[in-house]
Symmetry: C2
Subunit: 426 residues, 2 copies
């Protein structure tokens, strides 16, 4: 009987396959790691012939020492998430990789594209457990690596749940960006036949060498394993609980389309270019008294008293439509408490609950009333990005007027003057 | 000089047009109501010839008395919103229609499709100002009209901001639905050249006579004026601040595609059929101590103390990814306060912040921890719909166990067992 770790040749009804047998949780299935790096599941029923050809050294992950010296250098920051985990076949629990190098074993092709100089592991957690402190830690390491001559760019692997929040945070915290910063992920753990890590890591390696000096999220563009999008860190959102192409660009087109072979098609020409003479500055700070508050019909404005009493400094309100909530025409008028909060010094901003589109307070009297009370309308900025930006700004010793001004100033592509018609549901 | 109200023939560089001149806010533009009902703007520069042919009776809207007796009957409920408003050309402010019949003037073609038996106007407000009490009022009127033999269906015109919340509310509140309930809207006011009301009202008239006995939102399927979608009231969301095709089906395909000529293509065959022998029952109630709470990284779980102290009965938490938030692995563990709230009798449910996709607490230990603490995972239910459903259920004298059971029972299409691959970003 063939065992996990055996190199096998399998003949099925449909095809002939060669690879290394992985431990399979499903007794009716053989799990095979192909030489391409992909894992596939094969129904035992379909196997006509199986021949053991040798024994793989499953623990012998590509060593960093074996890296190809002539290739351009990059560094990795490994933070946790599904892309850093695999199933413990004995207990059924998801475990963290024991060595970050295991990540490279999933996408050995990466080592033909880049020379991985360093792998930093500040922490290993699921991204749902991250807090703004984690963003600050990543930003500091990223800046250190970006200012090293040996790195053309960096790749950060991260869980999917809050990846878009981290992408926004790094977009603001890495000032004077000189090189490429890629965030990537997988929705299926590395040991699963259907893992999306291989394509995401390969495309990320190509993207990290590109001319684009932006913080970008790189991942599946479609539910197929065919190509990836590179999306601006401030214009991207997790839009599906489980699909591999869950991250979608919002209110702008992706910056580029990238395939496994390294072909990079620029879709959106508005980006900052690589300039290795520059040095990144870390501007990593965050205030902890910021809220993201979603409005809904029937919502009691008294919730604002909670934030006033707890001495919050800023609130992003996810408003309806063009930037509305119940005002003087309604039984549940929010304006008196909004005015009270603003008088108490809280900065209140409006962001779109619809996700897509741009706010406009001037179309209806409701919007004009809300704006007149002192609410700042954040144009087409995503609510999640608005939260990150306001927390970041309030971490500085800026005056309130300065913060209001900066909320409406485009700092990292978070505000887009003209939205392409095609960008809706892209 | 031609004045507003004149019937004119205009020759431009491109074409010859006939219609009634409307007051135009823009001095460089002529605004013309064509005989088709569409309004168009014409640059004065392009006008080569203009001939006044008569005087329109602008106030002479099609009278309900002139309705065609042989056509199937429907009734309208007019609630406000852009579709019930027009610009006051003297003050520049948006005004409500003075008579609901003015609505029919926008889409005179409607009167060739249906015989409008009655127009009820419970209130005229922007939908951003609605509260659950308004849903109850609409539900009661709707049921009364649906139980009249003379009506094959009803059309409710409504503002866009909270139209999807109202659609969900009516889906639950109209029990034993016998006929078709259509909600429709416009994103541009009736007097604007680009108003989307004509197509939406025409398609709604056709849809109201269909075999589909569901609460459906009917509106532009694309940004062109070519056809509409009829989308289930519990599976639809406003996804853009301003586009006319802002309403999109979420986690299922639209029930049907409808064109101006009345061609109805069924896309999703899972719907309840017309059964005029049934009588609708109104089950219109709502508890006011329900919250919709969006989680974000760094969110302080202490907010749950506010809801506990205010004696809330239910909270829908918009969680990350498959249904996650920070737990025991994080510096900001939400579990102790979630457990406290549940111990105090608050029903806590999880809904997807990603909007698209289905929750699954079993994939990661975070989800298992949260579920074990007593949180109910609402599958693929939209957060907005979950809020409406929980508020509606808590308005009843059900036991807590019964409510938990009903939250996971499909009542009005809010839970979808199998999501079509095509339904993502449809």
């Amino acid at each position: 009987m063939a065992k996990a770790g055996d190199i096998v040749k399998i003949k099925t009804i449909k095809e002939e396959l060669k690879g290394t047998l992985l431990p399979s949780l499903d007794p009716s299935l053989l799990l095979l790691k192909l030489e391409s790096g992909y894992n596939i599941g094969i129904s035992k029923k379909e196997v006509q012939q199986l021949r053991v050809e040798g024994k793989a050294k499953l623990e012998a992950f590509p060593s960093l020492k074996a890296k190809q010296k002539n290739l351009p250098g990059i560094s990795l920051i490994v933070t946790g998430g599904t892309i850093s985990s695999r199933l413990d076949y004995k207990t059924g629990a998801v475990k963290w990789l024991s060595k970050p190098e295991e990540l490279l074993a999933v996408a050995p092709g990466m080592l033909n594209i880049v020379n991985v100089k360093k792998i930093e592991v500040p922490f290993l957690i699921g991204s749902e457990n991250m807090v703004p402190k984690n963003w600050i830690k990543i930003a500091k390491i990223a800046a250190k690596l970006l200012n090293k001559k040996e790195n053309k760019g960096i790749i950060i692997t991260h869980g999917t749940d809050t990846l878009h929040y981290t992408a926004a945070a790094l977009s603001f915290m890495l000032k004077n960006l000189n090189k490429t910063v890629i965030l990537t992920y997988s929705q299926r753990s590395l040991d699963r036949g259907s893992s999306d890590a291989l394509l995401n890591l390969t495309c990320s390696a190509h993207a990290s060498l590109s001319d684009i000096a932006e913080v970008m999220l790189v991942g599946h563009a479609t539910s197929q394993d065919n190509y990836c999008f590179a999306m601006r860190g401030t214009k991207v959102r997790k839009m599906h609980t489980s699909r591999r192409d869950t991250f979608r660009p919002i209110n702008e087109l992706p910056i580029a389309k990238i395939d496994e072979q390294g072909k990079i098609n620029i879709i959106n020409k508005e980006f900052k270019r690589r300039d290795e003479k520059k040095r990144v500055q870390v501007d990593a700070t965050f205030s902890d008294k910021i809220a993201l508050l979603k409005y809904y019909p029937g919502a009691d404005p008294d919730i604002l008293n909670y934030y006033i009493n707890k001495r919050y400094k800023g609130i992003i309100v996810e408003m309806l439509g063009l930037g509305h909530l119940a005002t003087s025409e309604s039984e549940m008028n929010w304006l008196p408490l909004i005015k009270k909060a603003i008088n108490k010094g809280i900065i209140i901003c409006a962001a779109p609950q619809t996700i897509y589109g741009r706010l406009d307070p001037y179309v209806y009297s409701t919007g004009r009333e809300i704006q007149a009370s002192g609410v700042i309308y954040l144009e087409d900025m995503l609510p999640e990005v608005a939260y990150v930006k306001l927390g970041w700004l309030l971490g500085h010793r800026y005056s309130k007027e300065k913060i209001k001004e900066l909320m409406l100033k485009n700092i990292a592509g978070e505000l887009n003057k003209k939205i392409s018609e095609k960008a809706f549901l892209y």
